[in-house]
């Protein structure tokens, strides 16, 4: 069944976007620009692969991915919140740093410039969904057995609940909109930002962990720009978890469509690649309704 193949493949593709975008929403809602989602994901993927390799357990890998992401998030918070450095540059630098560090330790630990050895993971390893309907069904069922899939599906609603239904969430949003007002009420703006960015690192790290544990290895640069697409989804979804989830789904569906069409040689894949980025630019140009960023986004003080 074509629909099942489509569904299975879209599910596989959307999970990392959902996880990373959840991190993006958290970070940007507390006022810290989330340019380093790509780095968080890559770090999480590496952490997951290394932990899974060392322990032989996929669950340990999951934890390792979250830890890897959190460590990078803490580094970003150190630079952006404690030292109040320019957040755009910090984001770019963190992405570059993660690429370098993962490559360096890839050489050091596994003596390879391209990938780690095979590690334990969740679900079937091959690109099952691309084949016929039965392998698609197997892949789909395999996905259902992958805890990260469930975490990914739940994460954005969870983030929405956190931000709009808990006292911490209210403080967090206040810090992102008007930190001065939050300070007058005794909220420690810096502490809230540290927490927000660390959580963002954890979420995006889990996104990377999903990639590594799904492919059963770490490959140099395996995130391949997904962090930026997640950021695009956050912006296109106007920092609202529900809309961000829909944006992620839309981008994943387009990607699946392109993969399905690839064999039939109709639409050049490069144009489908452009879709998330073009849509984000259109959103920023106001063609998808006014984009209301958190008012204190990017401000250091």
């Amino acid at each position: 069944m074509i629909a099942l193949v489509f569904l299975a493949q879209t599910l596989r593709i959307v999970i990392p976007y959902l996880l990373a975008a959840a991190g993006g929403v958290l970070s940007e809602r507390v006022g810290v620009i989330a340019l380093s989602l790509e780095g968080f994901m890559l770090g999480g993927a590496f952490g997951a692969a290394v932990t899974a390799h060392a322990t032989g357990s996929a669950w340990a890998g999951l934890l390792g991915g979250a830890v890897g992401g959190v460590l990078l998030g803490l580094l970003q918070a150190l630079a952006a919140v404690r030292f109040k450095a320019n957040q755009v540059v910090v984001g770019v630098a963190l992405n570059l740093l993660t690429v370098g560090v993962t490559r360096f330790f890839l050489r050091f630990l596994f003596d390879s410039s391209s990938n780690s050895p095979r590690v334990a993971g969740f679900g079937a390893s091959a690109e099952g969904a691309a084949g016929g309907a039965s392998s698609a069904a197997t892949a789909f069922l395999g996905s259902l057995g992958n805890p990260l899939v469930w975490i990914g599906l739940a994460i954005l609603p969870l983030v929405g609940w956190l931000l709009w239904r808990t006292p911490f969430g209210l403080r967090a949003r206040a810090v992102g909109e008007k930190p001065e007002a939050a300070t007058t009420l005794g909220v420690s703006v810096d502490r809230v930002r540290w927490i927000g960015v660390a959580l963002a690192g954890a979420c995006a790290g889990l996104g990377g962990a999903y990639l590594a544990l799904d492919q059963h290895q770490f490959t140099d640069g395996m995130t391949a720009g997904r962090g930026y697409i997640a950021l695009a989804a956050v912006i296109f979804g106007r920092w609202i978890p529900g809309r961000v989830a829909l944006a992620c789904l839309g981008f994943a569906a387009a990607e699946t469509l392109q993969i399905q069409l690839q064999g039939r040689g109709s639409f050049p894949s490069q144009f489908v690649e452009m879709i998330p980025y073009a849509l984000t630019i259109l959103a920023l140009a106001g063609l998808a309704g006014r984009a209301q960023a958190p008012a204190a986004l990017g401000r250091a003080e």
Binding site: N86, V90, F104, A232, P268, I281, L284, A293
Partner: protein, 398 residues
């Protein structure tokens, strides 16, 4: 999206911003306050790069020790492989040329208060435009005709890519940070499609070799540099730096650009059209980045190849940061980063060259945290010194 906080434009601003010493001191001891201000400005300018380099050296030590090597030996080998022999130095010059262009591009936009993160795509488009023009020109076109035309093509190509985020920022207030990042992907995908679908030499990812417009290599002049890619485009980089400096500090357009970067509202009040200035800044920035493509296309391989830029766009940000957004500082910083890049290759047998990638990122992080921290520390020290000297607060008029 609200504008991100201003990029570090400290090289121009320190004197203005630092002269906030309480009036009491200035009135009684004007000379002392003025020299203290200049001293502080100098420290603010020079300390952060030094701190950043120190941090990078420390991290480098750690990474080298992780690999069980001696830092002294590795650093020695690095210097020897770059400035110690002609081939290495030639490669340093070659890499520094591209980095100079991307660094200048970021610095120019930064002076206008804008973040041009799109260096990668502007660089690629510039190189592509030059390669295509070189293909279109008939073989045997004399170089005084072909080369300037290719230079112009590269500038136009990069400038067009840069103008888009500038226009969107001017017209819609769209964050140029995000637009340039998005455009990077779009433009690179577009170029990938054009080349792979229509313009590539079979079995490769590059266009056919240009018919005209190639420039000479340094090794043609000085055989000692044989094998290195250093070429005449380095002269264009020097000229670009000089032109950028002259534009920024000696022309009205540059003055307006800097004014808009320091305080857009004040500039607007003074009659400067802020939106048009932003557009101009981004277009110029993109054009300079586009010129960076000439290094590979005109000077080295004589064709456009997918991925030739190899991260030079992002490294340009680092170069501009360390060079404090000053055209000549950018040249120096470009040499530094190029030395690191080439040095990584030289020490690859001892320590993975990826160490250099880590160090480059560490330099950026250290720089961007050091700049505000140094300013804060110096301001606190200046305040403490004033309190120590018994300065009285100025009388507030009733």
């Amino acid at each position: 999206m609200p504008a991100p906080s201003s990029p570090p434009t400290d090289a121009a601003a320190p004197a203005a911003r630092v002269a906030s010493a309480p009036p009491a001191v200035s009135e009684s001891q004007p000379g002392r306050a003025a020299s203290a201000t200049r001293g502080r400005a100098l420290l603010e300018g020079l300390l952060p790069p030094l701190v950043a380099l120190l941090v990078a050296l420390l991290v480098g030590d750690v990474l080298i020790l992780v690999f069980g090597q001696s830092p002294a030996r590795v650093y020695g080998l690095l210097l020897e492989g770059t400035w110690g022999n002609a081939y290495g130095f030639g490669q340093v010059l070659y890499k520094a040329t591209t980095l100079s262009f991307t660094g200048l591009a970021f610095a120019l936009a930064a002076r206008a208060g804008l973040f041009n993160v799109g260096g990668e795509s502007q660089l690629a488009m510039g190189g592509f435009a030059a390669a295509v023009l070189g293909l279109a020109l008939p073989t045997g076109t004399p170089w005084p005709v072909a080369v300037p035309l290719c230079i112009a093509a590269a500038a136009v190509g990069g400038g067009a890519v840069g103008a888009i985020p500038g226009a969107l920022r001017a017209r819609f207030g769209a964050s140029e940070v995000i637009v340039t990042i998005m455009l990077n992907f779009i433009v690179l995908a577009l170029l990938n499609w054009i080349v792979s679908a229509h313009l590539h030499v079979p079995e490769t990812l590059h266009t056919p070799e240009m018919n005209a417009g190639a420039v000479g290599r340094l090794s043609d002049l000085l055989p000692a540099f044989h094998g290195s890619a250093a070429n005449a485009v380095a002269l264009v980089a020097l000229a670009a730096a000089g032109a950028a400096w002259w534009y920024l500090f000696r022309t009205r357009g540059g003055y307006e650009l800097r004014a808009v970067g320091l305080q857009p509202d004040a500039a607007e009040y003074a009659g400067v059209h802020v939106g048009r200035t932003w557009l101009r800044a981004m277009a110029l920035s993109g054009a300079i980045a586009g010129l960076g493509g000439l290094n590979y296309v005109l000077g080295y391989k004589h064709y456009y190849e997918e991925g030739f830029s190899a991260g030079a766009g992002f490294l340009g940000i680092a170069v501009a940061l360390v060079g404090r957004n000053n055209p000549f500082g950018v040249l120096a910083a470009a040499l530094l980063f190029a030395t690191l890049s080439q040095g990584g290759l030289a020490v690859n047998a001892l320590v993975p060259k990826q160490m250099v990638e880590v160090l480059q990122a560490v330099v950026i992080l250290a720089m961007v945290t050091a700049v505000p921290e140094v300013r804060r520390v110096l301001a606190r020290a200046a305040g403490a010194a004033l309190r120590r000297d018994g300065a009285k607060p100025a009388k507030v008029a009733a």
